[in-house]
């Protein structure tokens, strides 16, 4: 099997050749590795690469797997699967390209008006959730063409709070 896997902004090509039900050869740009493995539970697998043991804890969601190794999470996407599926979902680790709250929130403050020129990183809307406030920022330079949030209102992830027309020379 050949896979195109994406972590953050890096795509790597890997080929896996199962030898039996507990070992395989893996070929990639990083070289060839022989791995043995076993499933410990639905969410845990044990991998041994060249004698070194590692536990990987895995949650699967829409073609993306969250994989924790040594306490650090990796968000790994199967590029082929995402392309096939069409219904591409934002990987959890990516920088948002839209002005939408990461979770259900209350709007505390709207800091721009329609027609304003905004710079990438500029604060647009302050939202509050779980006793904490955060500022949603402009993902790129552009002009505000619409605002869909009012102070005190409830907003959900996926709702675009501010429309921004991207500057063409950005």
């Amino acid at each position: 099997m050949n896979y195109q896997l994406k972590i953050d902004d890096t795509v790597a090509s890997l080929e896996i050749q199962a030898l039996d039900n507990c070992s395989a050869d893996i070929v990639s740009d990083s070289g060839n590795i022989h791995v043995t493995y076993s499933r410990i539970s639905e969410n845990q697998i044990y991998i041994s690469c060249n004698g070194e043991g590692r536990n990987a804890y895995i949650h699967r969601s829409n073609g993306t797997k969250t994989i924790i190794i040594d306490g650090v999470p990796y968000y790994v996407e199967d590029v082929d699967k995402l392309t096939q599926g069409g219904n591409r979902k934002k990987a959890p680790g990516n920088t948002p390209q839209e002005v939408t709250p990461p979770m259900p929130s209350i709007v505390v403050k709207v800091m721009v008006q329609t027609g304003d020129e905004v710079a990438m990183g500029q604060g647009l809307v302050v939202v509050s959730a779980m006793k904490m406030e955060t500022t949603l920022k402009a993902p790129y330079d552009g002009m505000v063409t619409g605002i869909h949030a009012e102070e005190g209102g409830k907003v959900m992830p996926g709702e675009i709070l501010v429309d921004i027309k991207k500057n063409e020379d950005a």
């Binding site: 896979y3 893996i26 990639s28 639905e42 804890y57 190794i69 979770m103 006793k131």
Partner: protein
């Protein structure tokens, strides 16, 4: 002693209080909102009463509903935990007038200490050193500059009410003073319904060092040593420890006496915490009193061997403190890390969601006070703390190594947590050296990035996970087979 206690809280702290109640043979009543019907605190109680909507004002902050729940279940006392109604003098009064014991200090003490200006006056009268600042609230902002000049810059403008960094401004330049006072007052008025502000000298770098106290209703007051809580983000603690790296036996003696004096000066009864600022010269100043159990109380429990909740309950039941100051000795070093549902890569923004999988660390010297479980949806309506991970070691160095090991063993899938961030903080040189000032994270970790050094292993894990059937066909020599599962019929989903 009480036979039944209602816990007016949720999540990990409610569960923690119920555990001690169970050990004391006291029945427990949980209250829960619509968002919490399957919460761990409901599953951990002997009885559970539904009290309303997910919105806190309609459930956990609704005094009438909580009093009703206590009366209808025959509870004799209410433990407020922390947050919600824990420092609400009106609630404490309502408990008393309803014939219920409020497990905490008397209402007047809560009221006095809840106002920072009143608290400063009480402490000054009691001989406890306070940070140089204005004695009264500022009525006339335009007249404040003389006071400010006397105190000296930089200054901190602070709200008399509330907390959590709201209504607070640092002022470096006299020309910014008026505007800072005005905006702080506006913010405080909006957040707490009280715009009173005052100014203090701003001490930086400084440490946040607090003393745990226990006081009974017979006038006995002791302290249980200090906790250092300087590691904060957004004015909220994330790592606490005891002893403080800055502490010496002499300083502990002096600060402990000040903490006891603070408790006496305010007429304190029950468990409380006297917070101090310690500046870079080792001079300490009173900051405020938290009139409740602290989130970080377990580090004190692990070093002193004393169950603080047990003492809160026995003091509230009118018992005399069975400990005197010389009974208190602390052994080893304890560290707590707060595990929040939050994203350390996105400015610690909350990250609620379903816990798809959780594996708690265990073994020597580890305690995890957890309020969630695999399959539980962490609600977005409440504080995002999911657990307090605490370790104990013989030395600070041992405790740090143990905490790193525990964090690496702690797996939570489905929500984001600060675990990778905490590992990096604990491994960092400034932390290991005890350079724990309140600006620690801004100074050393403002540009933190997650170190994804096992990226290749993660890719391999992705592939291997695809290869392996989701549930192993279990067949064992003892002739016992697990219940056939639909997973077994699935096999690989891609081969």
């Amino acid at each position: 002693m009480f036979t039944k206690i209602l816990i007016a809280n949720r999540g990990e702290i409610a569960v923690r209080i119920m555990r001690t109640c169970r050990e004391m043979g006291i029945a427990t009543v949980a209250v829960y909102s619509d968002a919490d019907s399957r919460s761990l605190h409901v599953l951990s109680a002997d009885q559970a009463v539904h009290i309303g909507d997910a919105e806190p004002s309609k459930s956990y902050l609704d005094i009438d509903k909580i009093i009703d729940a206590a009366k209808s279940t025959g509870a004799e006392a209410i433990h407020p935990g922390y947050g919600f109604l824990a420092e609400n003098a009106v609630f404490a009064e309502r408990c008393e007038s309803s014939g219920l014991t409020f497990i905490g200090p008397p209402p007047q003490v809560i009221r006095d200490l809840g106002d920072k200006i009143t608290a400063r006056k009480i402490m000054t009268a009691g001989g406890v050193p306070v940070i140089p600042g204005t004695e009264e609230g500022i009525d006339d902002i335009s007249a404040v500059s003389a006071d400010a000049a006397k105190i000296g810059y930089p200054l901190l403008v602070k709200a008399a009410a509330g907390g959590g960094g709201k209504g607070m401004r640092v002022v470096y330049d006299p020309t910014d003073l008026e505007e800072a006072c005005a905006s702080a007052s506006r913010e405080a008025a909006g957040a707490f319904g009280n715009g009173t502000i005052f100014i203090e000298k701003y001490l930086s770098p400084s440490r946040h060092v607090e003393f745990q106290i226990l006081a009974d209703s017979f006038g006995n007051v002791i302290h249980l040593n200090e906790r250092e809580c300087s590691i904060q983000r957004r004015h909220q603690k994330i790592i606490e420890e005891t002893p403080s790296p800055v502490m010496t036996p002499e300083l502990r003696q002096k600060m402990g006496e000040a903490a006891v004096a603070a408790a006496r000066a305010s007429g304190y009864v029950n468990a409380g915490t006297v917070e101090f600022i310690v500046d870079s010269q080792g001079t300490f100043y009173f900051l405020e009193v938290n009139t409740r159990l602290q989130v970080e109380h377990p580090v004190t429990e692990m070093t002193t061997g004393i169950d603080l909740v047990r003492y809160q309950i026995s003091i509230a039941a009118g018992e005399k403190l069975s400990l005197v100051q010389k009974d208190i000795s602390a052994k080893g070093h304890a560290i707590e890390c707060r595990i929040y549902a939050e994203d350390p890569e996105q400015g610690f923004f909350p990250s609620p969601g379903i816990i798809h999988y959780m594996k708690e660390p265990s073994g020597p010297g580890i305690r995890n006070d957890c309020g969630v479980y695999t399959g539980f949806p962490v609600p977005f309506e409440y504080d995002p703390i999911v657990s307090k991970l605490v370790v104990h070691g013989n030395t600070r160095k041992d405790a740090i190594s143990r905490m790193i090991r525990a964090l690496q063993e702690y797996i939570i899938l489905g929500i984001k947590t600060p675990v990778p961030f905490l590992i990096d903080v604990l491994k960092s040189e400034p932390f290991v050296n005890g350079e724990t000032y309140t600006d620690f994270i801004d100074t050393h970790f403002s540009d933190w990035l997650m170190d994804r050094k096992n990226m290749h292993t993660a890719q391999i894990a992705f592939l291997v996970d695809d290869m392996l059937p989701l549930k192993k066909q279990v067949s064992h020599g003892d002739g016992i087979l697990s219940t056939p599962s639909p997973w077994q019929t699935l096999g690989n989903w891609r081969l």
